[in-house]
């Protein structure tokens, strides 16, 4: 086959084509070589697709001559012959634009950063020529091994050991902009720094504006003349007016620029209200000062102090809000703080500390006592107790030994261990938890929708109300009408606070979701946050949810004179190589007690009955009652005990040594130690708790009785669980919600079917997509915690919304002068400014109260401690 000429066409990877004119140029250049109508250029993927016969080298050359680096990505003919089709493949394949470009980033996944490489976001790059210019500029920086820019994403990846500031400078000198694409922790740090600067600036603005406003207001209150008379006072007021203007520009400039820009964009925001309010007061006062004769004598009042005071108070309000807001993200900060900055890597026998970003998959790492685990990994060597409480809410440290998984952020308490990095960077459970919490913190529960709708149209509505109030005063008010008009309109504009309304929901969600995360409860979305508290029925899967999920030895009953431990040792030795879950449970139990096991001789197993073998010269039989009968052993003395164990949903295994009955070992899927208590907690909260299981009715009921659920639905096949949930939802009364709790893998359809699906994770497998809420520790207490947090958060949101609605619903009419006919007073704009700035602070502070939330279990614990 002729390599050069492809009958079917080709897919060519290009670089640097960024605009429609590039597309035209490329098509034009290819026109002599192929059917131009069959050429398509994908700017996003940076590919040229030719669906007609074409001479590939000539096509590549033609594109290259235009200045775009081009490589053959796929010869459609060859591809077609080989795989019978190419479209699917090429679409799914990551961008392999060129050697150079393939290194840094895959265009379809912008967020994925290469570990070790410095990622820059580039701004201002508009054409193909920019790419090489920027790459060149970066490569000239000392220490840079390679630099590659991805035009589609406008990012550049720099390998090597270079100073980031120098890199940014180099790009800027080339005429473009560059910023460092940083990680979460750095982001958080930068955010805090920026907030600190902003806070200081707000305070400065406040002092300046109040510095002018307070003396002016004091002058008025102490009986000083606020009316403009002719002569000297007129000049004095004109001077004060100009000073006020300067202060307004300095302290409140951003309100005016913001208002103007928003106006140009046909949108209106807080700035619009503040700017029109203070602007109107200043303009009126200035007009009075300049041309007092133009207004009636009674109306020759100036309001410069109002403009200055309002600007000062709003700056103060913003400053307080920034402070209070900082606290709402404490949960995230705490999670971010879990991530150590460095890791101790063992390479070629040498141990050294390296930055966490440079740890790669497969690295061998060491963690010493008192240090945090750096990345997700598997223990290679050593043994230690590890505290995962910050991650899972599980208070008791877990023992880790060879082969066990460890998670980034967990605290290593007692021993030194080495472990192999399995997941690094954004893939660690901790990073995923952080991402998930962050996302959920910004989610909005349905409860907040109305406030959203109102706040979206709020500002124009207030503008209209202000005009109506002004007209009402003008037409029906007493003299001085013009002055009253101005005061009423200004006060309406200033007192109205869409911020409080807008903040009410997100602030509470932010704190509530963070609080849940602290308890090891990951809430995926706003809907779940709200609905978890509204559940009426909660269905719990049995295996793995109420119980441990794997069989273990529940009890050993020995015939008089026999030692239980010895029986366990013999049974475990016999089952040493067993793959049967019951046998494995016995071996596990012996291992836990550190018993020394022997190797069985003459091992035999009879399917469905039991096993036999010789251990240390003793013939041991282990199995069910039939196995004993087969071997002519009388199980009589222990049958009653065995029946009792069976009633507790355990499986009794009879054991005989040297032809005599020795005891019975009961193996069962143990109920988690705190399931009963947690279920009681749920029922106290008014929930109907149902247990769902595939077990036969009798043993299901035995467990149900032990844990105290309201109802049991037994003998349900795994595939029918979702149907059971659907039935329950249909039967439920209007508005009664049904929740489902399961392990997230087998129970995924049922979790999805429920109004709220809870997945019980063990450890830190947070990627449970089917669940609305993930409980990171195995305990059902997490469930009760989730429901309590949800209820507390929803209550907090309601308080906030109520406060914000009432504030605006009362404040605006009062500001408009509704109380004037009754009390004869008109609200001062300065008071409105104070009220407005306090309203959003109040909302944020109330949300912060949620930080003090404690679950009922915590309360109980504290009571006990006291």
């Amino acid at each position: 086959m002729n390599q050069a000429l492809s009958e079917q066409g080709a897919l060519i990877a290009i670089q640097g084509a960024g605009c429609q004119s590039c597309v035209k140029k490329i098509k034009h250049a290819l026109a002599p070589l192929t059917d131009a109508d069959k050429v398509s250029v994908d700017l996003q993927q940076q590919t040229v697709s030719i669906d007609a016969a074409v001479d590939i080298p000539a096509a590549l050359e033609a594109i290259r001559q235009l200045g775009y680096p081009a490589e053959l990505k796929e010869d459609k003919q060859n591809e077609e012959n080989a795989a019978g089709g190419h479209c699917e493949l090429s679409a799914a394949e990551p961008d392999t634009v060129s050697e150079q470009d393939a290194a840094p980033q895959d265009a379809s996944q912008p967020s994925k950063s290469q570990t070790g490489a410095i990622q820059l976001n580039i701004t201002g790059a508009k054409c193909a020529a920019c790419v090489s210019k920027i790459e060149q500029a970066l490569q000239n920086v000392p220490g840079v091994a390679s630099a590659a820019m991805n035009f589609a994403d406008r990012t550049a990846a720099v390998e090597g050991d270079a100073d980031t500031d120098a890199l940014i400078q180099a790009v800027e000198q080339a005429g473009y902009g560059a910023t460092l694409a940083t990680d979460d922790a750095a982001d958080q740090e930068a955010k805090e720094k920026a907030e600190q600067v902003y806070y200081k600036q707000l305070l400065q603005n406040m002092w300046l504006a109040l510095g002018l406003g307070v003396p002016l207001m004091a002058w008025g209150l102490l009986g000083g003349e606020m009316m403009v008379q002719t002569g000297l006072s007129q000049f004095a007021w004109l001077a004060v007016g100009l000073i006020t203007l300067a202060v307004m520009a300095k302290s409140g400039g951003h309100f005016y620029t913001g208002a103007w820009k928003a106006f140009k964009n046909h949108s209106a925001n807080m700035d619009t209200l503040i700017a029109t309010g203070t602007g109107a007061a200043w303009l009126y006062s200035m007009a009075v000062a300049a041309l007092p004769q133009a207004v009636p004598e009674m109306a020759r009042h100036v309001y410069f102090e109002a403009s200055a005071m309002i600007i000062g108070l709003i700056n103060l309000g913003l400053a307080l809000e920034v402070r209070a807001r900082g606290k709402t993200s404490q949960a995230i900060k705490r999670l971010l703080d879990l991530q150590p900055k460095t890791a101790r890597v063992i390479r070629d026998g040498d141990e050294k500390d390296i930055p966490i970003e440079n740890v790669r998959k497969g690295d061998l790492l060491r963690v010493r006592p008192g240090e945090k685990i750096a990345v997700d990994g598997e223990v290679r060597d050593g043994k230690s107790l590890v505290d995962e409480s910050m991650l899972t809410g599980e208070p008791i440290p877990v023992e880790k030994k060879q082969g066990d998984k460890v998670s980034a952020g967990a605290l290593n308490k007692t021993g030194s261990m080495t472990y192999v990095a399995v997941k690094v960077g954004k893939d660690t459970a901790l990073a995923q938890i952080i991402a998930m919490v962050k996302k959920a913190q910004n989610a909005k529960p349905p409860l907040g929708r109305l406030a959203d709708k109102i706040s979206a149209v709020f500002v124009p509505v207030v503008l209209i109300i202000a005009v109506i109030a002004a007209l009402a005063w003008f037409n029906f008010g007493p003299d001085p009408r013009i002055a009253h008009m101005l005061v009423a309109a200004t006060t309406v504009l200033i007192i109205a606070c869409p911020c409080a309304l807008g903040l009410a929901t997100p602030m509470s969600v932010m704190v509530g979701v963070g609080k849940a995360a602290e308890a090891g409860v990951l809430i995926r979305n706003g809907g779940a946050l709200q609905q978890a508290g509204e559940l009426a029925t909660l269905v719990l899967d049995k295996t793995g949810t109420i119980t441990e999920g794997k069989p273990s030895v529940l009890e050993i009953q020995a015939v008089d004179g026999r030692d239980q431990t010895e029986l366990l040792r013999l049974a475990a030795s016999l089952e040493k190589a067993s793959e049967h879950p019951l046998g494995m449970a016995i071996v596990e139990s012996a291992r836990e007690q550190s018993l020394t096991l022997s190797d069985p001789v003459d091992f035999q197993s009879e399917s469905g009955q039991g096993v036999t073998g010789v251990i240390d010269g003793v013939t041991v039989l282990l199995g069910n009652r039939r196995w004993m009968e087969t071997n002519h052993i009388d199980a009589g003395p222990l049958t009653e005990a065995a029946d009792k164990l069976a009633e507790q949903a355990a499986t009794p295994l009879f054991m005989a040594t040297d032809g005599a009955l020795a005891g019975v070992i009961a193996v069962a899927d143990k109920i988690k130690s705190d399931s009963r208590e947690a279920i009681a907690r749920l029922r106290e909260r008014g929930l109907r708790v149902i247990m769902l299981t595939g077990d036969v009715k009798r043993s299901a009921e035995a467990i149900a009785k032990q844990v105290g659920v309201d109802e049991v639905i037994a003998e349900v096949l795994p595939e029918d669980k979702a149907r059971v949930i659907r039935d329950l939802r249909q039967k439920a009364a209007q508005g009664e919600l049904v929740g489902m709790v399961g392990d997230g893998v087998n129970d995924a359809p049922a979790l999805a079917e429920a109004d709220v699906g809870f997945a019980i994770g063990t450890g830190t497998d947070v990627a449970i997509e089917s669940a609305d809420i993930t409980l990171m520790r195995g305990s059902l207490h997490g469930l009760a915690d989730a429901i309590e947090v949800s209820r507390a958060t929803v209550r907090n949101i309601k308080q906030n919304l109520f406060g914000a609605f009432v504030y605006n619903a009362l404040g605006i009419p009062v500001a408009a002068g509704l109380l004037y006919p009754v009390l004869g007073v008109l609200m001062s704009p300065v008071l409105a400014g104070a009220a407005m700035s306090m309203s959003s602070v109040t909302v944020v502070s109330n949300a912060n109260r949620l930080r003090l939330f404690k679950s009922s279990a915590q309360h109980k614990q504290e009571e006990k401690a006291a």
Binding site: Q44, R154, A181, E195, A259, K261, H266, D271, I464
Partner: protein
């Protein structure tokens, strides 16, 4: 005089209604192959009307210059996207949806507002 003031007032109300509610954007920003850069400053997303083709993946690069916490989040209601915007450096948000329609995006408090039209 009094008629004039009343007319002015009514005119102002009509103007507010027209300018903020009835006016419809003529020109939306479209992707020219690369990311669409959106500046977040002074209470406004600029550009604040974006048009993207359905099914195609488009990067919106937000550059937040306003340090006020009001600008900290951008939320695309209906697309289940909410992201925190760092001050001073770009944040990329990739959007790909098959569902045509107009999606509003805004800050937490609804003071910054924009619309994303998927065609």
């Amino acid at each position: 005089m009094s008629i004039l003031v009343n007319l002015l007032g009514l005119g102002a109300i009509a103007f507010v209604i027209y300018w903020f509610w009835l006016w419809r954007p003529q020109n939306a920003a479209r992707s020219a192959g690369g990311a669409i850069e959106i500046t977040v400053a002074d209470g406004v997303y600029s550009p604040n009307h974006i048009e993207i083709p359905a099914g195609e993946s488009v990067t919106l690069r937000f550059l937040r210059k306003d340090p006020s916490p009001c600008a900290a989040m951008v939320i695309f209601d209906g697309l289940n996207i909410s992201e925190e915007l760092p001050v001073g450096h770009a944040k990329d948000i990739r959007i790909q949806t098959q569902e045509k329609g107009v999606y509003k995006f805004n800050c937490q408090m609804n003071m910054y507002q924009g619309s994303l039209k998927v065609v």
